[in-house]
């Protein structure tokens, strides 16, 4: 298995606050990975370190085996679209394609022009005057013109309306199929991700909560409903991710290590969206109870 991106105990600190801490993960080649977490979870920090814009304060991040902060050669293989698709707003799309050719070692201007023509993007209007969806498409086309082996997208669809979002994801999936590019995209729109992504990284409170192939994650989690749990959960439960109790019933979202076959418990499959939410909600309540000084 080829690993495109690898983080080992990676950390970044702003002042005394860790934006990302003990982050260890790897992204296999050919995957479309979702980087999920609430605002402030460390998603952008991780992406900025992966593209060499930030220097790690702890641990290491390697892209294609190299540290992107010290090794500018690696950057030619990485395409990056930052949040809110920053483009030179007075430039037209056609001018940006021309500029890209001067600024990059490898540049497929024909690819960018074909894509933009197909999408009906006006070539000569300043990109600042285009719609948000069109601007996102211009930024994607420019990133793809580098013919990157790894494409990093920071909240690419967050500001788009549903139609533009769909069109963006269509373009993205088409080009992934064409070029086999590995993609890491951050988002908090979970519904879109389940179809698009086959790999998942869940960040919360500056730490990695969950990472792995989506189908393995889906197969390895179950919801259990049964009599109120006191003591140990049934055989097959590797960890309880989230639990809620009434006086006589318990509802658990669990990670399993083998099939659960206990007649007392009703076992249901859970959607990836519900699994993600369970991991995000878990940390939340714990920290806030301690911070407010009230018992959990």
């Amino acid at each position: 298995m080829d690993v495109v991106l690898e983080a080992d105990q990676l950390g970044k600190r702003y002042g005394s606050t860790w934006a990302l801490r003990d982050c260890s993960l790897h992204l296999p080649a050919g995957r479309v990975a979702a980087l999920v977490g609430p605002n402030g979870a460390g998603k952008s920090t991780l992406l900025h370190m992966a593209v060499g814009l930030l220097r790690p304060d702890a641990g290491a991040v390697r892209v294609f085996g190299e540290s992107p902060y010290n090794n500018t050669n690696t950057l030619a293989d990485i395409g990056f679209v930052a949040q809110d698709t920053p483009l030179y707003r007075d430039f037209s799309a056609a001018e940006l394609v021309t500029a890209g050719a001067k600024l990059n070692r490898r540049w497929d201007a024909a690819l960018a022009r074909n894509r933009l023509a197909q999408l009906g993007i006006p070539p000569n209007r300043p990109v600042g005057k285009l719609s948000g969806g069109q601007r996102a498409q211009v930024a994607l086309a420019l990133a793809l013109a580098k013919r990157p082996r790894l494409l990093l997208l920071d909240e690419p669809v967050a500001s788009l309306d549903p139609l533009a979002r769909r069109e963006f994801l269509q373009s993205l999936m088409g080009s992934v199929a064409d070029a086999g590019t590995t993609v890491l995209l951050s988002s908090h729109l979970l519904a879109d991700l389940e179809r698009v992504c086959d790999y998942l990284i869940v960040l919360h409170a500056a730490r990695v909560q969950l990472t792995g192939p989506v189908d393995e994650i889906a197969a390895g989690h179950r919801q259990l409903v049964g009599p109120r749990l006191d003591g140990t959960p049934p055989v097959g439960v590797a960890a309880v991710v989230r639990a809620s109790h009434t006086d006589r019933q318990s509802t658990l979202l669990v990670r399993t290590d083998r099939p659960i076959d206990d007649p007392a418990w009703t076992v249901r499959e859970v959607s990836v969206e519900d699994i993600i939410l369970a991991y995000l909600a878990d940390g939340d309540t714990m920290t806030s109870h301690t911070e407010w000084g009230v018992p959990a």
Partner: protein, 135 residues
């Protein structure tokens, strides 16, 4: 060529929905041996889904011996699921249409019809299975 559609409210996962649609098309004779399945890229783009999901569906169909991949060309149907029953289907369909009209005149809603068909089918198949078992 067929076109895939996804039911976003379905609990069936995406790759399985693609597999089921191909099988459905094979069963009703919409796809015949030699027909090409939509290209992976086109499916990924039009449905905005991960190309690996499409590949997984096509691989599953290949394992079941229904389709075969030709490198660089595409994926083609190699076997049909319509079998001998296909010629009979047209006639059965006519009967069914006539029956549906009768059900409508009798005041059955589409939900009533579906429920009736499902319960009857279950009961009838259970009866058949019982008769086959040695006494």
């Amino acid at each position: 060529m067929i076109e895939f559609v996804l039911d976003s409210r379905s609990k069936v996962n995406t790759y399985m929905q693609l597999v089921q649609q191909v099988k459905q098309a094979l069963r009703v004779g919409l796809l015949m041996p030699g027909d090409q399945l939509p290209k992976v890229r086109d499916v990924a783009q039009s449905l905005a889904i991960n190309p690996n999901t499409v590949l997984k569906a096509y691989r599953e169909l290949e394992i079941e011996g229904l389709v075969g991949g030709r490198p660089g060309v595409g994926t083609f149907v190699t076997r049909t699921l319509a079998g001998a029953s296909l010629p009979n289907q047209a006639e059965l369909r006519e009967d069914l249409v006539a029956w549906l009209h009768r059900a409508r005149s009798a005041g059955l809603t589409p939900e009533d019809v579906t429920a009736l068909v499902e319960t009857t089918m279950r009961a009838a198949l259970a009866d058949e299975a019982q008769q086959k078992e040695p006494a």
